[in-house]
């Protein structure tokens, strides 16, 4: 596969490490109500769609960016690639 890195352009997927569901960006607050239940959901439950999936890839052999890749798990078509840190900062700002 080729991943269109937002800063570096197309790169072979073998430069990357796959980690999975981008929901891992949304770590629960540790002292919120039911935090244990939230952490169990965060840690273990997955939507696992057959279709469009937002997921985390780490450019370990490149610039060490964490990317959020929107990819179709049936066709492997990649629809969007974003820097995780920008997405997270944007979310934090809200």
């Amino acid at each position: 596969m080729l991943i269109d890195h937002p800063l570096l352009g197309l790169r072979d997927s073998s430069e990357f490490i796959y980690v999975g569901d981008a929901k891992l960006l949304n770590r629960p607050n540790w002292n919120s109500k039911n935090s244990k239940t939230k952490f169990i959901d965060y840690g273990y439950l997955r939507k696992n769609p057959a279709g469009v999936h937002k997921e985390l890839w780490y450019h370990e052999q490149g610039d060490r960016s964490w990317l959020v890749v929107t990819r179709n798990t049936v066709t492997h078509e990649i629809l969007k690639v974003e820097l995780a840190r920008y997405l997270k900062r944007k979310a934090n700002a809200k």
């Binding site: 800063l7 570096l8 352009g9 790169r11 072979d12 073998s14 430069e15 052999q61 490149g62 610039d63 060490r64 960016s65 820097l83």
Partner: protein, 186 residues
């Protein structure tokens, strides 16, 4: 007691060889440091970089060479490398200057450099480098970090047929073997 002196050793002991008309030589440098741009300080860093090295801070995957021959390249959003090939007042003067804006990490011992040069250099690199080396996508002065023959490498294009490759120093033996094999195999 005789004064104890520690000897400084290059990763490849100054290796140099020609294989299939490709010149392979250890690229020696006096120091190699990385600069991290503090959060939200890119502007300040740009000014500092220009003041310290006399050249504008390069964009990602680009490089500069200043008039003292110092090579600077940017490898990530907030990460640059400065490679100082020859002994100079760099450590005394420039580094403290850069420290005013950047976080600095000395990596001189961490990397091994090899310069490859010759008409068939692209053919050789094709055997290990997954990147497109055509000038259209890899211009002069470009620098990229990738994986070659299982090793994490930084590749810098000096001219159309001259490149400098950097790889972690602990695996410099495997790195050199990989380049030698590629040169022989074409």
């Amino acid at each position: 007691m005789a004064k104890l002196v520690l000897k400084r050793e290059k990763p490849l002991n100054g290796y140099s060889k020609v294989i299939n008309k490709i010149k392979i030589a250890e690229y020696k440098f006096d120091s190699l440091i990385s600069l991290a741009i503090p959060l939200k300080r890119e502007r300040k860093c740009k000014i500092n970089f220009k003041n310290s090295l006399g050249e504008p801070m390069p964009n990602i995957e680009n490089s500069i060479i200043n008039k003292s021959g110092i090579l600077g390249f940017r490898i990530g959003l907030d990460l640059l490398f400065i490679c100082n090939p020859s002994h100079s007042s760099f450590a005394k003067k420039t580094v403290p200057l850069l420290k005013q804006a950047f976080y600095i990490t000395d990596q001189t011992g961490g990397w091994c450099g090899v310069k490859v040069d010759g008409d068939r250099v692209i053919e050789m690199l094709e055997r290990i480098c997954p990147l497109n080396l055509s000038l259209k996508s890899f211009a002069l002065g470009d620098v990229k970090r990738t994986i070659m023959d299982q090793l994490n490498m930084i590749i810098f294009r000096e001219t159309e047929k001259k490149f400098i490759l950097f790889s972690p120093s602990s695996s410099s033996g495997s790195f050199l073997k990989s380049i030698e094999t590629s040169s022989r195999n074409i």
